[in-house]
C-alpha cells in the first residue's frame, strides 16, 4: 500500500533530514496521520470547488418551470461556498500543523530557495524525471522538485483562492460583513471585481494543472 509504504520509508529515514531540531520529530506515524486526513478532506473540497466553480463561471443550461420551483444555481453556489469554508478551515489547521508537527509538515510552506544543496537536489530530481538517472533522491516527505511545485502551485494558489474567494463572498454578504472587512482590500488591487473573478477562475486551472501532475507523480512513485 502506498500509505504504509510511505510510513515505512518515513520511519527509516526520519533521522536523515537536514537541520531540523530532533525534539520536534514526534514519530512519523503520529505526525503523518493528520496530514493524511487533511489531504482527504482537502482533495474532496477541491474537487467540489473545481466542479461547482466551473459551472458557476459558465452557467447551467436553462431549467424549465417557474423560478420559484427551482433553486439549482443557488444549490451549486451553496456547495461552492460551503466547500470553500471547509477548504479554508482545513488550510488553517494545516498551517497550525505545520507549526507544531514534524519537519515534513512544514515542507509545503517553507522552501529554502537560498540553499545550494536544495538546488542540487532539485537538479537531481529533474534528471530523475528526465530518465537520466534512476537513483531516487530523498525518500521521506516530498522530494525537492515536488516541494517546489507544492509551494508555488499549491500553497500559493490555494492561499490566493481563499483570499479572492472570501473577497468575492464579501461582495454578496455586503460591505458591512466580516468577509468584506477582512478581504475587501483585494479590490484595492483589482478595483473592478470582474478582474478578481477572472483571476479566481485562472486559479482553478492552475489547481487543475497541479492536480494532474500531482496525481501522476504519486501513482508513478507507487
Amino acid at each position: 500500500m502506498f500509505v504504509n509504504d510511505m510510513l515505512d520509508r518515513a520511519r527509516k529515514l526520519i533521522a536523515a533530514v537536514d537541520a531540523e531540531p530532533t525534539e520536534r520529530s514526534i514519530g512519523a506515524a503520529i505526525a503523518y496521520a493528520p496530514v493524511r486526513l487533511w489531504h482527504c478532506v482537502n482533495a474532496a473540497a477541491i474537487l467540489m470547488l473545481s466542479l461547482s466553480g466551473y459551472v458557476i463561471g459558465t452557467g447551467t443550461p436553462a431549467m424549465s418551470g417557474e423560478a420559484s420551483g427551482n433553486f439549482l444555481f443557488g444549490y451549486i453556489r451553496f456547495a461552492h461556498l460551503s466547500a470553500g469554508y471547509v477548504l479554508s478551515i482545513g488550510f488553517l489547521l494545516r498551517i497550525y500543523w505545520a507549526l507544531v508537527g514534524n519537519a515534513y509538515a512544514m515542507q509545503i510552506f517553507w522552501v529554502p530557495l537560498w540553499r545550494k544543496c536544495f538546488w542540487r537536489e532539485v537538479y537531481h530530481e529533474i534528471r530523475r524525471y528526465a530518465f537520466l538517472t534512476v537513483e531516487p533522491g530523498r525518500r521521506v516527505g516530498h522530494n525537492r522538485l515536488a516541494q517546489l511545485a507544492m509551494f508555488f502551485m499549491f500553497t500559493q494558489t490555494i492561499t490566493f483562492m481563499v483570499v479572492t474567494g472570501f473577497a468575492l463572498y464579501g461582495q454578496g454578504a455586503g460591505t458591512d460583513s466580516w468577509q468584506y472587512t477582512l478581504f475587501g482590500w483585494v479590490f484595492s488591487i483589482w478595483p473592478n471585481s470582474q478582474d478578481v473573478h477572472t483571476w479566481h477562475h485562472l486559479g482553478l486551472w492552475v489547481i487543475v494543472t497541479f492536480a494532474l501532475v500531482h496525481i501522476y507523480a504519486a501513482i508513478r512513485e507507487d
Binding site: 436553462a62 433553486f71 439549482l72 444555481f73 443557488g74 475587501g184 470582474q194 485562472l202 486551472w205 494532474l212
Partner: protein, 366 residues
Amino acid sequence: MGGPTETFYSVIRRQGMTRRSFHKFCTLTAASLGLSPLAASSIANALETKPRVPVIWLHGLECTCCSESFIRSAHPLIKDALLSMISLDYDDTIMAAAGHQAEAILEETRAKYKGRYVLAVEGNPPLNEGGMFCIDGGKPFVEKLRCMAEEAMAIIAWGTCASWGCVHAAKPNPTGAASIDKVITNKPIIKVPGCPPIAEVMSGLVTFITTFGKLPELDRRGRPSMFYSERIHDKCYRRSHFDAGQFVEEWDDKYARKGYCLYKMGCKGPTTYNACSAIRWNGGVSFPIQSGHGCFGCSEDGFWDNGSFYDRLTTIKQFGIEENADQIGMAAAGVVGLTVAAHAAVTAVKRLTHKSDRAAPKGKLS
C-alpha cells in the same frame, strides 16, 4: 449671483413654487436617501435656514452625459429645485454668461467663498503634453482644476470619467486622461461613478450635502455608501432566475422573452456597484436589465478595457491573442495532460526494458 444669506427656500418661493410643493420635494428626497419620514422636516428646515452652497461645475474631457442625466432628475420639482437649491455659480454648459465674464465668476467664487464651495467636476484632465489635450478658457483644464480645487470644501467627481477615467482613459490612453484623485490628493473627493450616474443619485447627493452640511459616508473606494454599497445583482428583479439556474442562452430565444437572468449573456450586474436596480432610470421607468440587455458595468473601474460586454470572462490580452481564462486554463491543462501521458508512456517503456534486463531485483520496488 445670489448673496451669501439667500436660502434655497427663499429662491424657490421667489420663483413661484408653493410651500406645499416644497414639502413634497423634501419628503421625496428623504425617501430617496433612505432616511426616516421625520428627516423630511429636517431637510425642509435646513433648506429654509441654511445659505445655499455655492457650486462650481467644471467640465474636462467628457461627453456631458452627467449634465444630461442631472437635468432629467425624475420629479419635475426636483429638476426645478436643484437648479436653484445649490447656488450653481458656474457651469459653462448651461450658464448664461460667456467668455471673460464667465471666467471672472470662478475667481470671484474662489475668493468670496474660500473653503465653502463645492467643486463638481464632470470629466477628467488629460495629463500628457502638459495637459494640452483639453484647453478650457485658454489654458489646460488640469490647471483650472488644480486652481479651483485648492480652495474648495470638497470635490464631487461626477461620472466614471472623473472617478475612474472612463473610455478616453482606455488603453493605450494617448492623452493620459486620469481620474480626479490622481491630480487632487489633499481634498475629500466624492466619487459618483456611472456613465452617466443616475439623476436621483446626483440630486440626492447634492441634497445630502446641503441639508446636513457634511459629506456622506463613503465606502473604501470613495463612493457614497448610500447609493453604492450594493451591486446591481443584489437587488436585481431577475435574481430569482439566477438562483433557479434559468439563463438566457441567446438574444432572441424564448428564455430572453421570458425574462430570464442575463448572466450567460455577459451581464456585469454581479460585479457592478450602482443603484440602477433599486432606483432605476427616467423616473423609475426602467433600467438596462429590465429592458432586456445585460448591465455592462459602466460605474466600475476599468469596464472599458475588460473585453466584450457580452462575455462573462474578461479577455486576457497578455497572451498575445485574445483569450479568456477558460481557454488559457484548458490549453495549459491540456498541454500538461499530454506531457504527463507522454511521461507515463516513457516510464512504462523504461520499466519494461529495465525489467527484461534484470528482472528479479528491481521488480519489488513498485
